[in-house]
């Protein structure tokens, strides 16, 4: 059985947490004692009916305020698939937590309140989903019960979202009218919306093909750790531990080490100390080479005939996440890319992206929390990268504040 990771996004109170609660409830994935706990908590909060959002809103302050603050991970399964659901906060103040959840998602469900239609946070989250290259997007037009389950209301929102999606690079879009509260078109088809003939939400989740989203062409392997047992029988053993980020590697492949550009061949690939014939995307393995060359953490092993770009000058889209300090040209950070870290300095802000119109704003002096922009930076050491839209795994990087050590920027290298 395979695994799908999806996130719920959209504006405050559009029903993201309720939707996840509903999905788990209708697929019989909420256990009896958890249900009792939710019932108890619903009562003390006078929620009247059972508030399924309490399944994911697990922090004290979230329950006090009735909002989501940080992402919650919930796990469930149907006979066809296993799911990791990631419930993101809608509030603008917690956008960085949404980005955290979205960065690993194969699919995003963007909720829209049928009464309000597309609002600023819908646009912001859609932009982030598209920048992060989330391959599949479902727009769930929620609270259909509050607009009389009207087909016209749905079609109007579907039309305005489709216009928005055209400006972004959303590849696979499905729009579904739902009521998370009543469970309409979530797992069961809605009787109240018999005009809707498309798939239910769960059916899309179960059938979307994520295997083909992976980059199987570019052989990339960032070295995490060098295994050197230094015992008598394994005296000369040197294994490079890492995870295949993209492509495949097999014994005999000609490889190149970056940034040193030294070449060698794969002598052996091991997993758990046993030899295996080849290693594919996302497998954590150990690679042994024919030649004894200097390799350490932060280096990258790539197939010799397919190289990433090796450069100190990088242009990237960035989501800025620091609520205390702004990003300005001249600022210095640590850039973490794969297993490599390098100091870097910001050379310039090319443009900022307006959250509502998606237009480019020129002459921006500094980026504030939640701003999205294209920046130019220079690293102290060369970085071996691929453009993010071609290779998510090797085009992603983070900026770390050198003094607070906090992660302050999410970079998608262009």
């Amino acid at each position: 059985m395979d695994l799908l990771r999806f996130i719920t996004a959209g504006s405050v109170d559009d029903g993201k947490s309720t939707l996840i609660g509903r999905l788990l409830y209708d697929t019989k994935n909420i256990l009896a004692d958890q249900m009792e706990a939710i019932e108890r908590a619903s009562k003390t909060r006078n929620a009247g009916e059972i508030d399924l959002a309490l399944l994911t809103d697990g922090l004290r302050s979230e329950r006090e305020q009735g909002i989501t603050i940080d992402v919650a991970y919930k796990y469930f399964q149907t006979p066809n698939r296993k799911f990791i659901s990631i419930d993101a906060p809608g509030h603008i103040q917690y956008t960085r937590n949404m980005v955290t959840g979205a960065s690993n998602a194969d699919l995003a469900i963007i909720l829209v309140d049928a009464r309000h239609g597309v609002v600023e946070q819908t646009r912001r989250h859609s932009l982030i989903a598209s920048m992060l290259g989330i391959p599949h997007v479902i727009v769930a037009v929620n609270k259909m019960d509050l607009v009389g389950n009207s087909e016209d209301a749905f079609l109007e929102i579907a039309k305005s979202y489709t216009e928005l999606a055209e400006k972004l690079s959303i590849k696979d879009l499905t729009i579904i009218p739902v009521s998370a509260l009543n469970g309409d078109n979530i797992v069961e088809r809605s009787e109240a919306m018999s005009w809707y003939t498309g798939e239910t939400l769960l059916s899309v989740l179960e059938n979307v093909n994520v295997l083909k989203d992976q980059n199987q062409e570019d052989g990339r392997f960032a070295v995490q750790y060098v295994i050197r047992p230094q015992t008598d029988e394994l005296h000369d053993y040197r294994g490079y531990a890492g995870r295949v980020q993209s492509g495949t590697f097999k014994k005999g492949d000609a490889i190149k080490v970056l940034p040193s550009e030294r070449e060698s061949k794969i002598a052996k690939i091991e997993f758990g100390g046993n030899e295996i014939p080849q290693a594919s995307v996302l497998e954590s393995v150990t690679i042994l080479l024919e030649d004894d060359i200097d390799i350490s953490r932060g280096d990258m092993i790539v197939t010799v005939d397919n190289s990433p770009i090796v450069s100190q000058d990088i242009e990237a889209l960035v989501c800025w996440m620091d609520d205390k300090k702004t990003l300005k040209p001249g600022n210095k950070y640590v850039l973490q890319h794969g297993t490599a870290r390098s100091r870097c300095s910001i050379r310039g802000i090319e443009y900022q992206i307006d959250i509502n119109s998606y237009e480019k704003l020129d002459e921006v002096e500094a980026l504030k929390l939640n701003d999205v922009a294209r920046i130019v930076l220079r690293t102290a050491q060369p970085i071996a990268y691929d453009p993010y839209q071609k290779n998510r795994a090797n085009g992603a990087a983070i900026l770390i504040d050198e003094t607070s050590n906090v992660t302050v920027g999410a970079c998608m290298i262009e």
């Binding site: 695994l3 955290t100 295997l211 594919s280």
Partner: protein, 317 residues
């Protein structure tokens, strides 16, 4: 030589026919990746080992991650003195078998040294006190990262925690100011005195752990399988009949066939009645169980709604 367009689409076609990787392989690869990030990013990491199934899984994953080398960090156990003897024996045997360094620190010693007051009365437990011993041990060995076997499916506060969970110099978790954690780029940069708790099996469910133990043929302490035992029946829960549990007039002493679904302190871990004697039988029972792991077995979570969140804010795992 570069791949031509036609060849590339052949590759794509072949791939779409290839079967999807199994979820257990994906979870395993992710956990091994996280372990190796710890070894690569920190100077003095440790693996917190309790003898329970989750930490047994961690040790197995660590073995695989660094084979044929040794695990590059010690196993650390905070011993409350209220552990099941079977778990302690298993711990010692495993550490010896894999030739790992084992560090044990005792809550008893912390209580004496610091003059701490123990809880008394019904359901008294050292669960809270073990935080002090843990923080002292971290300080003593200057551990900068502690790997733990917590899973997000266990509890609602854990469902919110990052895989690299930053702790300040007092070991405290601040759920409202967690660091962003993007893609698989874990940021383990800290100041001296701070540390990171790392949870490689965050994304595993209870059933995933059992399925993995079975697939890998990993041995478990005997208490995980059905056996006869003398127990205290208290408020509908079955606790091990041991002197470390303060008696209550309402207690009933009974003998039942039971197994343990989790293994924590004897004072706060309940047994479940069961005849499941093999991993297959245990898995079959858990698959149809309508009660969660902690709901069925843990007494410490049920005291208040935010018990786990509060403990974590205080430096607990």
């Amino acid at each position: 030589m570069s791949i031509s367009v036609n060849e590339a689409s052949d590759i794509q076609r072949e791939i779409s026919e290839r079967s999807a990787p199994d979820y257990l392989d994906q979870l395993e690869a992710e956990a091994i990746y996280i372990m190796r990030e710890v070894a690569g990013q920190f100077e003095r990491p440790a693996l917190l080992f309790s003898g329970g199934k989750d930490s047994i899984t961690l040790v197995h994953l660590a073995k695989k991650a660094f084979a044929p080398g040794k695990i590059p960090f010690p196993l650390v156990h905070v011993d409350t003195g209220h552990n099941f003897i079977e778990a302690i024996e298993y711990r010692d045997e495993l550490a010896e078998a894999i030739n790992a360094k084992l560090i044990v620190r005792y809550v008893e010693d912390t209580i004496k040294a610091k003059g701490l007051k123990e809880q008394t009365g019904k359901n008294a437990s050292r669960n809270w006190l073990q935080t002090f011993t843990l923080l002292d041990t971290i300080e003593e060995f200057e551990f900068d990262a502690c790997i733990g076997g917590a899973r997000r499916d266990e509890e609602k506060a854990r469902a919110k925690e990052r895989i690299f969970s930053f702790r300040d110099e007092f070991g405290q978790w601040d759920p409202k100011r967690q660091r962003p954690e993007l893609w698989n780029l874990f940021n383990g940069r800290i100041q001296k005195g701070e540390n990171v708790r790392v949870f490689p099996i965050s994304n595993w469910t209870e059933l995933d752990v059992w399925a993995y133990l079975k697939r890998e043929g990993i041995a478990l302490p005997s208490i995980y399988f059905a056996h006869e035992r003398e127990l205290i029946l208290r408020d509908g829960k079955l606790l091990n009949n041991t002197p470390v549990i303060e008696p209550d007039p309402e207690d009933q002493i009974v003998t039942r066939q039971v197994r343990f679904r989790t293994v924590g302190d004897m004072t706060c871990t309940a047994a479940v009645e069961s005849a499941a004697a093999t991993l297959d039988e245990v898995i079959a029972e858990i698959t149809i169980s309508r009660i969660s792991e902690r709901g069925e077995t843990r007494i410490d979570d049920q005291q208040t709604e935010a018990a786990m969140e509060d403990r974590k804010k205080g430096g607990y795992f």
